[in-house]
Symmetry: C2
Subunit: 295 residues, 2 copies
């Protein structure tokens, strides 16, 4: 077995992603010799202790990062600025500071300026998730054959970037480096907009008068159900994602709304050719995904 | 084993639903003693012959319905008016004319006036589907534990309605009778709108400049993929559904668009509470589905 990449890995936040990383570190010996977990709530930390997925739990993030050669922010991205402020003076020289947030420009904006000289800041985003959250939700195969995108700011130490890349490869992920603005734009369309739409349509259904609402639940299997699965995800995490990828998300949403209005117009005026063309394109995309084995 | 419900069942159209019914009729002996299949294309009929799922194939719908005590329209709903016109003079007295279309007011509008006296018209809609279509797509368990909604017009013979209900129960479905306008409204939100949205977002992604489009495919797993599955369905069928449930679909789409605009506004102005509330409601609906075992 390879040597552990890190002597001490500090996970700040222990939801689906963090607790999957902790479990993988436990299952394989080559990620970190010691895993320290910090979370905001005492209840979560107690649960982590019960689950036995950390070597040590720490209620204070400053204590958690002391002596760690890798610190990973696994909280909702809206909490990153305050976390970074709390830990910055306590980061060990030469340590790697990384994260798993779904928005990368905001992380660079919020965390970047607080990173002390000599600490390597390597923002990352593993593209993996389920509709479950919390320390019980994690599992060791979460990242297998999934992408992890790294968005190091210009001038980041190449060895530190490679260290983080190797970390994710050992977790089972495929790694790609990407410009942070491009990351936010791509994620807006593949992930953030679909989630926003799913939450919205669930709200639209929830607002129906009572009789129809009951029947929405009863007959949900016909398409709506797939949206509710997406919409079952963690509220705080998604609130933070939307607010921290505002520009790209609003642009993609505006494009989508224009397209939906065009579809509405085609339905109203009976433009069969337009509708058929749009449906055909949906099939085309699905076919491409199947060829790429992403479906 | 119970006696067959029908002596001769004529299926006009043999896609996912029709070919599943044909396979069930073959697998159990108690639906129909004889299954006659009509389809518009010679290629489809030849495929039905190869698959061995019909006792007889007929290129002319008028010949297919002759002597049948049950005629089931399984084509896209946009083809129903022409089909009804073609078969009306050839329907046997006392026969049941039913269908499997996803829009019920349009079927009653298009087919109802053409039904000869003495023929029982029982519109039906089994809520079952996959993203696959055509005679190869059907399978015997498609309707198991799924709903089939019957929307008989006022004055329909109660025995004929019960006959159709029993047919679907033998196919494994749960049966409920519903007002056609109410059916169209409920289906607009649980099925037609989700499909319209899924087709639309696939088009939005397909319109992105080439680099982003490639990455949409590469990173689709993060939410977008679920939309593409819905969007892979049959274009002609869905075109017809949208055009034949226009009013209810446009109303639900308008409600959804208002809600999406409100969400966009909350994202733009940083209204965290609003966003969190909407996400919470999505979770609530998902939880209700799980309790109802619809998830």
């Amino acid at each position: 077995m390879a040597d552990p990449l890190f002597r001490r890995l500090a996970l700040l936040g222990i939801g689906l992603i963090g607790s999957s990383v902790a479990r993988i570190a436990r299952a394989r010996g080559d990620l970190a010799a010691e895993v320290v977990v910090n979370a905001r709530s005492a209840k979560t930390l107690e649960r982590v202790r019960e689950l036995g997925i950390a070597d040590r739990i720490e209620a204070d993030p400053a204590h958690a990062v002391a002596g760690a050669d890798c610190v990973m922010l696994c909280a909702p991205v809206g909490a990153f600025a305050a976390l970074a402020e709390a830990i910055a003076p306590h980061l060990a020289p030469g340590a790697i500071l990384t994260d798993v947030g779904s928005t990368k420009q905001s992380v660079i904006r919020d965390v970047g300026p607080l990173v002390p000289a000599g600490v390597h800041f390597v923002p990352a985003h593993p593209l993996a998730g389920t509709e479950y959250s919390g320390p019980d939700a994690g599992f060791v195969t979460l990242f297998e054959n999934r992408w992890c995108l790294l968005t190091p700011p210009p001038g980041t130490d190449a060895a530190a970037v490679e260290w983080v890349a190797e970390f994710w490869r050992r977790c089972g992920a495929m790694v790609q480096t990407m410009d942070p603005a491009h990351h936010d734009r791509v994620l807006a369309i593949v992930s953030h907009l679909p989630h926003l739409i799913a939450f919205t349509i669930c709200g639209t259904a929830d607002d129906l008068e009572d009789e129809s609402r009951q029947e929405v639940l009863r007959f949900a299997a016909s398409g709506f159900r797939d949206f509710t699965r997406i919409a079952a995800s963690d509220p705080v995490m998604w609130r933070d994602v939307f607010l921290n990828n505002r520009e790209a998300l609003l642009e993609m949403l505006a494009r989508f709304m224009e397209d939906a209005q065009a579809m509405a117009r085609a339905v109203r005026w009976g433009d069969a050719g337009y509708i058929e063309d749009k449906v055909q394109r949906g099939r085309g995309i699905r076919r491409s995904l199947i060829e790429l084995k992403q479906a």
